[in-house]
Symmetry: C2
Subunit: 195 residues, 2 copies
Amino acid sequence: MVAMGRWRPNAEQRLQQAAFALFAERGYADVTVAEIADRAGLTKRTFFNHFADKREVLFAGAQAWQASIVRYLTAADEDLGPIDAAVDALTRAGLELAQYGDSAHARRELIASSPDLQERNLIKMTSLAVAIANGLRARQVPDRVATFAAQAAVAIFTAAYDDWAEDTAADFSALMQRSLLQLRHATGEAQAVGA
Amino acid sequence: MVAMGRWRPNAEQRLQQAAFALFAERGYADVTVAEIADRAGLTKRTFFNHFADKREVLFAGAQAWQASIVRYLTAADEDLGPIDAAVDALTRAGLELAQYGDSAHARRELIASSPDLQERNLIKMTSLAVAIANGLRARQVPDRVATFAAQAAVAIFTAAYDDWAEDTAADFSALMQRSLLQLRHATGEAQAVGA
DNA sequence: GGTGTGATTGCACTGGGTGCAATCATGACT
DNA sequence: AGTCATGATTGCACCCAGTGCAATCACACC
C-alpha cells in the first residue's frame, strides 16, 4: 500500500515527463493540460489531483530542493557570517543541481520563454529566500539582516546559475564566489569615502 | 481627438475605481471581471481592451512610476556609488508614493491577500530592478554590479516600505537609509576578518 | 469472497481570456 | 448639414484552466 498510482504506478512522474516532452516540442503556451494527461495515459482531472495548476508541474522538485538547502544551511560552519553561510548552502545545492545538467538547461529555457513561468519561478525564489532567512534567524541573525542576507544570497545564486548555463564546464563554486564579490562591490560605499 | 472614451470619458480610470471598490468589499478572488465592468458601465470585453488581465488593473500606474524612478536615477549626483544612486532615486519615488497614503495602503493589503497578485507584484519589482540596472549601466557601472546594486536597492525599498506601512508617520527617507545600513551589515564579511 | 481505502474518473460548471465582425459616437472635411 | 474616417465599444462564439461532487475501480487486507 505504498500509496500511489492505480494502474501503472508513478502517475505524478509520468505526468511530469509527458508535460516536459510536450513543452519541449511545442512550447508551454501551446500545450493544454488535457494533452499532457492524455500522453501520460490519464485525464485532465487527475492532472489537477497531482498539481495545483499547469505551471506547477515544472516546479515539482522545488519543495524538496528548498528543504535540502535549509538543511545545508543549518549544517554550515557556525563561524560563517550570514551571507557566507547562505552562499555556502546554495553552492552545495547548485552542485547537486549541476548533476541534472541537461534537463535543468531545458527547464531553464522553458521558464525564460513564458511570462507565466517566470512569475511562478520568482515566487519560488522568494519563498526560498524566506526559508533561508528563517534558517539564518535560527543562527541568531537579527530579523532584517537575515532577510537581506537571504535575498542577496539568492540573487547571487541566480546570477551564478546564469553564468553556469552559458558555460557548463565552469566550476560552479567559483562562480558563486565571484558573484559574491561582485555583489559586495555593488553594495559597497563610494570609493572616495572610507568605511 | 484626445483618443479616449466614447460615451463617458476615462473608461480606464472608471474600471480601475470599480475594481478597487469591489476588491475592497469582497476580496480579489470573489470578484469577477464581468462585475467590475458592470459597475463601470462597460462590458467584460472592454475591460480586456484596457487591461491584459484581471491582475493588471491593480498595476496600472506601475509603468509610469518605474519611468519616474529611472528619471530620478539619471538625475542623481554623479559622485554617488551605484547603490546610493539607486537608493536615492527610490527614496524620492517612495516619497511621491507616500502622498497617496490611503489607497497605497489598501492596495498593499490586497496584494498581500492573493498569491496571484503577489506573483504579479514580484515580476513588476523585478522589471523595476532591470530598469534600474540599465540606468546604472548608463552611469558606467559594470554589468553584473549594476544588476546586483539594482536588486539590492529594490530589496531595500521593499523593506523600508514595509516599515513605513506599519508607521505612516515615520520619515521614509530615514527608513531607506536605515535599511541600507542593515543590508550593508547583512552582506558584509564576518567580523573576525578585516575587509 | 467481502470490504475498506485511496486513486482515478466523468461531468457539469464557473471564470479568465481571445478573435472577429459589427456597431456607434465623434471629430474632420466638403 | 451631410459624409467619412477613425477609434472605442460591444456581442458572440469559443478555448482552456481549474473546481466540486459523486461514482467507479484496482488493490490490499481480512
